[in-house]
């Protein structure tokens, strides 16, 4: 399926569905809802197979790769959806890498969307465990408040790994942080003598390579999310500038404004190339991680700057929650902070360039 699959057609189908199911009005209204994700939207996506996108065909997934995931995340970013899809992508990779029997059952739940997974970043501070029970706190776990499965980073006898924990297991409590970006949330997960179930321990043999793969996929997905958001918020802003009049003229005719728009558009054309490139490099290519990290740092910053300016270009209405640019700004700023701030990533990019 994967080889001849037309990704452009797929991308179009993502956008078309979301334009109908998650229009601007819903996105704006959702901000005040105090939910951790939108259950109807999530099950509709699962029904369309979006949660099965990268799962292996042998397990009932669609078997598509990082490029397909990038198109999906670009569409999610464009529509600012409150759906924990990043966790689905990463959990699919993580569970697929274990080969353990216990992972299979979890994978089925991820594929059908019944499991919403919060996955710790590979460089999260690990929670110590003896492999039977686990106690400690995993801080700032993305999308944990709405999740029913938690993939927590652990250290077992000095070796890094992961453990899959049901969010409602005895001894688990989650402190929810509401974020400026209400489409996502963070949780501090406290584990108090939680039993580790059969097959729930993930101890990868090639740990560093798996960490790199997860980082790479996350960075590509976040960069794609930012790209979609940047393109969407600029489009909305241009449309507004074509109808809003001041001093008897459309504000889109003012050179001081439209030149900024032109710069933003040109930056996004370059950003799109970076995302497509980072998403299509084979997993085992030496350059895959460098491309993903540098792309994430760059594209997240580009979109954050664009979204910031789009509020300014909207003027007074941009400052009201009734208009959507603020949703994009908030999401863009969170994307900048996830999986390494710009400075942290650039230091790593410099390391990689010097080592090359």
């Amino acid at each position: 399926m994967s080889d001849e699959f037309d990704l452009d057609v797929l991308a179009e189908s993502f956008s078309e569905f979301l334009e109908g199911e998650w229009p601007k009005e819903k996105a704006i209204a959702y901000e005040r809802s105090d939910q951790s994700y939108d259950a109807d939207l999530w099950s509709a996506m699962a029904g369309l197979g979006w949660t099965a996108l990268t799962a292996p065909e042998a397990e009932g997934g669609l078997g598509l790769g990082t490029a397909a995931a990038a198109h999906l995340h670009a569409a999610l970013g464009a529509a600012v959806t409150p759906t924990p899809m990043l966790g689905t992508l990463l959990a699919t990779t993580l569970l697929g890498a274990t080969g353990a029997e216990g992972a299979r059952g979890l994978l089925a739940g991820i594929i059908d969307g019944s499991l919403r997974v919060a996955v710790a970043e590979p460089n999260a501070v690990p929670v110590q465990t003896d492999g039977k029970t686990i106690s400690g706190t995993a801080r700032d776990l993305l999308d944990a408040p709405g999740a029913n499965l938690l993939l927590v980073r652990i250290a077992l006898a000095g070796q890094p790994g992961w453990v899959a924990i049901d969010a409602d297991a005895p001894g688990v409590s989650i402190h929810r942080y509401t974020l400026a970006d209400t489409t996502r949330s963070l949780g501090d997960v406290t584990l108090d003598n939680v039993q580790i179930g059969e097959g729930r321990l993930i101890r990868p043999t090639a740990g560093a390579a798996l960490d790199d793969l997860l980082t790479r996929q996350a960075c590509v997905a976040i960069a794609a999310d930012s790209l979609g958001g940047g393109e969407a918020v600029l489009k909305i802003t241009i449309e507004y500038m074509k109808v809003r009049e001041q001093f008897g003229r459309l504000i889109g005719s003012f050179q001081a404004l439209k030149h900024r728009v032109a710069d933003h558009h040109a930056a996004l054309v370059g950003a799109r190339e970076l995302v497509l490139n980072a998403a299509t490099i084979p997993d085992d290519d030496d350059g895959a991680l460098l491309a993903a990290l540098s792309t994430k740092a760059h594209v997240a910053a580009v979109t954050a700057d664009i979204a910031r300016d789009c509020i300014q270009l909207h003027g007074g209405v941009g400052f009201t929650s009734e208009f959507s640019p603020h949703l994009y700004l908030k999401r863009a700023k969170l994307n900048e902070a996830l999986y390494g701030t710009r400075t942290a990533i650039l230091d790593r990019v410099a390391d990689m360039l010097e080592a090359a």
């Binding site: 074509k242 459309l250 439209k258 030149h259 558009h265 370059g270 230091d347």
Partner: protein, 415 residues
């Protein structure tokens, strides 16, 4: 300043010279590339940058002609020419490989032949008469003739169509009066592709412009080189005072000059910018190696350097896409991509070269003569920085690019 060219090639053993024939390897990509690499290692002096830097401007034509001649010996003077023009007729993919290998080896650019090798043949073959082709093509392929372009005027820069140089028919001649500016290499040129107004009463300002071949040795022509902020002179002003151009030197129909100029402006099909971005990529990689014991040890500058990596990659990927689209079908290639490339590339060059000036401190302040043939990657920090305005101002300034993007591409209202 580090001269990196030393590392390029092993010591040249000229006694063991063999003949090189890359064109015979077309069809085998690896062999083709290897033949070009071997040839470059054999003919390109490791210190060519130093030699060219010491060349006086008046002798520049000579050294560049030498390099064109070396390329001609192996059939690579005009790798982009189709067979009908007398070129090798290799596929676009192989043309790209030639440019890639030339950039990788830091072979000199042939700036002063840009018009001769790209615009003139495209114009002659598309719009010229057989007599014009027969008369002028030989001088180009033999590398004896240098061509320039007489388009811009003091009052017609970004707004080219408002040009005022007048050509008035007088028997078998046109009599031309006016002034051109920013005419690259015109001080070295033998011929000029000239745009002049033959009908001042056209309905639109684009009407009434005609396209001529002007012999630069004609009486009445004065060429005054423009000293640039880099200290060198790549352009000149060309003054025309009752210059007679034979009517047979008109290209295409009288009054059709604007359309002809538009159709040949982009004849280089992305190859020149490709060469330029690949050269910069090579230079970018060397910069961090050269600075490993200096500014790459400063956490802030190192981070800033790393930030440029994605910007450069984005531009290289855009250029690659442009080439891929042109290779697949020139008719279907994105008409907007070149504009986006330009508005990314110019500002990138400027900010990266400014960064290097800042990072290298007083060392970068020490003035050195420019190095011809190195484009925007001379690696003389201040020169490259100043020269970057060539991309932000020339060929449609950033501001014009922003108008084009916002009004023509994004359909925002005109001011």
């Amino acid at each position: 300043m580090t001269q990196t060219s030393e590392a390029l090639a092993p010591a040249i053993d000229r006694t063991a010279a063999r003949t090189f024939d890359p064109l015979s390897k077309v069809g085998d990509e690896q062999a083709f590339r290897q033949e070009i690499r071997d040839w470059l290692a054999a003919v390109l002096p490791a210190d060519w940058r130093k030699q060219w830097q010491q060349t006086r401007e008046s002798d520049l034509g000579g050294v560049m002609t030498w390099w064109l001649e070396e390329r001609r010996k192996v059939g690579l003077a005009t790798p982009h020419w189709p067979k009908a023009w007398g070129g090798p007729g290799i596929s676009f993919a192989y043309q790209i490989m030639v440019y890639e290998e030339l950039s990788r080896a830091d072979a000199p650019e042939l700036d002063i032949f840009t018009i001769s090798l790209f615009h003139t043949p495209a114009t002659l073959f598309e719009h010229g008469t057989q007599d014009q082709i027969d008369r002028y093509l030989g001088g180009i392929t033999q590398g004896t003739d240098i061509w320039c372009q007489g388009f811009s005027e003091p009052g017609a820069g970004s707004d080219l169509a408002s040009l005022r140089t007048a050509a008035i028919r007088d028997g078998d001649d046109y009599i031309v009066n006016g002034q051109k500016i920013w005419s690259s290499s015109s001080m070295h040129a033998d011929y000029c592709l000239l745009l002049a107004r033959t009908d001042p009463n056209g309905k639109r300002k684009h009407d009434g412009i005609s396209y001529f071949i002007m012999d630069m040795k004609s009486p009445g022509i004065t060429v005054r080189p423009i000293r640039q902020i880099t200290g060198e002179s790549e352009f000149a002003e060309v003054f025309m005072d009752d210059v007679r151009i034979p009517a047979k030197n008109l290209i295409g129909a009288e009054g059709n000059g604007w359309n002809i100029a538009q159709s040949t402006l982009s004849t280089e099909r992305g190859l020149l910018i490709f060469g330029s971005t690949e050269r910069l990529a090579r230079s970018f990689a060397l910069d961090r190696v050269d600075a490993k014991d200096s500014w790459m040890r400063d956490v802030g500058l190192r981070r800033e350097y790393a930030g440029f990596y994605a910007e450069l990659q984005a531009i290289r990927l855009m250029v690659r896409r442009l080439l891929a689209e042109l290779e697949a079908n020139p008719e279907k290639a994105s008409p907007t991509l070149p504009t986006f490339i330009k508005l990314n590339w110019g500002p990138f060059l400027q900010s990266y070269s400014e960064f290097l000036v800042r990072a290298e401190g007083l060392e970068a302040q020490k003035w050195q003569p420019s190095i011809p043939g190195t484009g925007h990657s001379s690696r003389l920090r201040f020169n490259d920085f100043l020269k970057s305005y060539g991309w932000t101002v020339a060929g449609g300034s950033n501001e014009i690019m922003r108008n084009i993007i916002s009004e023509r591409i994004l359909a925002m209202p005109r001011g």
